[in-house]
Each structure stands twice: as structure tokens, then as C-alpha cells.
Symmetry: C2
Subunit: 215 residues, 2 copies
């Protein structure tokens, strides 16, 4: 057969990804997860060794894929602009677009994963260490590219700008629905196309504004 069936490990990762994204780490029980996955409770400890390692495995599974795609696009825009540095808009696009494209076209698993990222990113808990471990190398590369794209900017401003950038992104990924309420239905949190059209311009303009800031 062309497609092999999902293994127990994959079933557990999928179910955990979905439920951790919805209710967080402490709000999701292993019985919830194994029930959703349709496997026995004890298999979590057999395959992953516990609840926390399962959570870590969920976070790391798609992280490598995302990093690879981001770095690929960054290299692309750098090459297209060579020998000059890539523009701020292009670098920002290489950072956002993999997420937004996966979100729009790559199935519900990625959707849950990004919701989970939004959660973990803003929670002052141990899970954030896992995020740093998975993403910091890639992020540093993007910050270097941003600094190159903003010749007048102080590095501190770019670091803070990255902080604002990722905050804007993660809140959008959380799809809180507040946007829908505040705009009386004019905008929808789940409208990835609308997000994609606006997030890049907002962030690029913000970074340039920071770069021209008077100290």
C-alpha cells in the first residue's frame, strides 16, 4: 500500500498535539490523550517515558521541519539579493511564510502545533526551555539577517524588534477570536490570507521605524 498506517507513537503524538494545544499541559490528562488516540494508557510511558517527555516530543517533532524550511527560504532571499543584503521585507517573509503556508495548506496537525507554540511561547513555564533549544539557532540567523537589512539600526533595537515580531505572530497563531468580536465580524482570526497580507508589512514597517528611532 502507498501509505503505511499510523504507528502508536504517531497516534499519541497527534492526539497529544491536539489536546495540549487546546487545554495546555496541566489541563490535559494522559487519559484524555490515550482516549483520543485510541490506545492504552500505559503506552505513553512505554513509548515516551512519561507525560513531560511526550510533551517535549510533540514540540520537537515539527520544529526541525519548520527550521529547515525557514533557513531554506532565508538562503533563497539572500541569494536573490546578493551581493547586497536581503531586504527587511524579504527576511521577515522568510520567517513568517513557512508558518503561514503550513497553516493554510498542511493539515490540522500543523494548525494544532502552532496553537501550541503560541501557548508555550507566552507561558512562563519549563516548556519554554524546549522552545529555545529547538529554535534559537535558526532565530539567531534571522536576527543577523535583520541587522544586515537595517544598516542604521542598533542591535538592541533589532533584538527588541524580534521580540515584538514574534509576539505579534504568536498571538495571531493563537486564534483567540477576540479579533472577530472586536471587529463585529469584519475580521476573522482564522483568516490566514488576511493575516499573511498584513503581518509582514506591519512588522517590516515597525522594524524600520525602530531603526530610525532617536536615542
Amino acid at each position: 500500500m502507498a501509505r503505511s498506517k499510523r504507528t502508536t507513537k504517531e497516534k499519541l503524538l497527534d492526539a497529544a498535539e491536539k489536546l495540549f494545544a487546546r487545554r495546555g499541559f496541566h489541563g490535559t490528562s494522559l487519559r484524555d490523550i490515550t482516549g483520543e488516540a485510541g490506545v492504552d494508557l500505559a503506552l505513553v510511558n512505554y513509548h515516551f517515558g512519561g507525560k513531560k517527555p511526550l510533551f517535549a516530543a510533540v514540540l520537537e517533532r515539527r520544529g526541525a521541519v519548520l527550521n529547515e524550511e525557514r533557513l531554506r527560504r532565508l538562503a533563497e532571499v539572500r541569494q536573490a539579493a546578493a551581493p547586497r543584503p536581503a531586504s527587511t521585507e524579504a527576511v521577515v517573509g522568510a520567517f513568517f511564510d513557512p508558518i503561514l503556508d503550513f497553516l493554510a495548506h498542511a493539515g490540522p496537525g500543523w494548525h494544532s502545533y502552532f496553537t501550541l507554540l503560541a501557548w508555550v511561547n507566552n507561558s512562563p513555564e519549563w516548556g519554554r526551555r524546549l522552545m529555545s533549544k529547538t529554535f534559537n539557532d535558526t532565530v539567531r540567523e534571522f536576527i543577523r539577517a535583520l541587522i544586515d537589512s537595517l544598516p542604521g539600526a542598533a542591535p538592541e533595537d533589532v533584538f527588541w524588534g524580534y521580540n515584538f515580531l514574534t509576539g505579534a505572530l504568536t498571538l495571531s497563531l493563537a486564534e483567540t477570536g477576540r479579533l472577530d468580536i472586536l471587529s463585529d465580524g469584519l475580521c476573522r482570526s482564522t483568516d490566514v490570507a488576511a493575516l499573511k497580507a498584513r503581518l509582514g508589512p506591519f512588522v517590516a514597517a515597525g522594524l524600520k521605524g525602530l531603526a530610525q528611532r532617536q536615542a
Copy 2:
């Protein structure tokens, strides 16, 4: 005496605020909270009626104060600019500055409260409904002021811009420490002055960039 002693309700609210901010709703037990507050476990149900109502009370306690101060400053900048609409920078400042000033000068309670806001804002859980209830009226007023300050902008762009704005704010309030790591200590997540100097310019420039976006 000049200062009355903290009541049991206040002790519980303070302890819950601190611990919910650190470990979230499900990650904090009532025994943690009553232990921190130094009161009996049963008093939570006596004074608040349960864990969820306690959480709601924590969220709402400082919300009214924050709304009042924000609206006061918004009226201030509007009056200063009248009869022209207040500038984008001034409106954004009226939205951010109360938080940043409370954060810097108003004690650890406000600090915990903002960390908790950052948590709740990005969590896809029931707590967000409480946030909408507390803040939506004020936020709508600010969005109106932003639309007035950006004559060329489509309302959709401003709504999305507000979404990015509050995302940048809440991630900064979460003080994740990732900024410290990524910048090798050059920037510190807890540096409110550095945040205050940069968040406004970034967001104002981002909003203006959105307003000039080509559809």
C-alpha cells in the same frame, strides 16, 4: 492606624495572582494558594465559591483600574490634539504607558497581574472570555482613536494592527527571558525602560505601514 491589615480575601487574591501568573490555572492548586496566603484551604470556597471564581476575581480586580487609567490618558491626548484627532503615537502611548508605568512603579502585584494577562491572552481557554468582558469596551475606544489617527487606513487593517500590537505587548509582559538568551545578555526582558522606549515607536510605525499598504 493608617494602613489596615490585609483581609483574608486580599491575601487570597494576592497569592492566587502570584501563583496563577507563574504556573497557570491548572498548574496551581488551591493548597498552593492557601499555603502561600497563610490561610485555611476551605476559605477559598467560603469567600469565592471555588477555584474558577477565584481566578476570575484575580483577573477583574485590577482590570477596572487599568481601564480607568487608559481612558483617562486617551482623553488627555485627545484634548491636547483637539480639534484634530490625536496622533497614532499618542494613542499608542495612552494604551501602553499605564501598563508600563504600573509595571515599573506599582509593586509586584501589578507585575504578576500583567504576566497573568500575557498567559491568559495567548491561551485558548475559557479565561479569555473573562478578558474580553473586562477589556473590550476600552479596547474598542482605542481602536476608534487609532482609526481616526490613520485617515488613509482601512478599518480591517487597524483591527489586525491592534491584534499585532497587543501580541507584541503581551509577549513583552511575559518576560520570557528568551530576549536575554538570544542577545547574549545585551537586552534584558525585565528592562521596562528599554521596552517603553521601543514598543511605541515599533507599533506606531507598523500601523502607519499597514495604513499605506497596497491592497
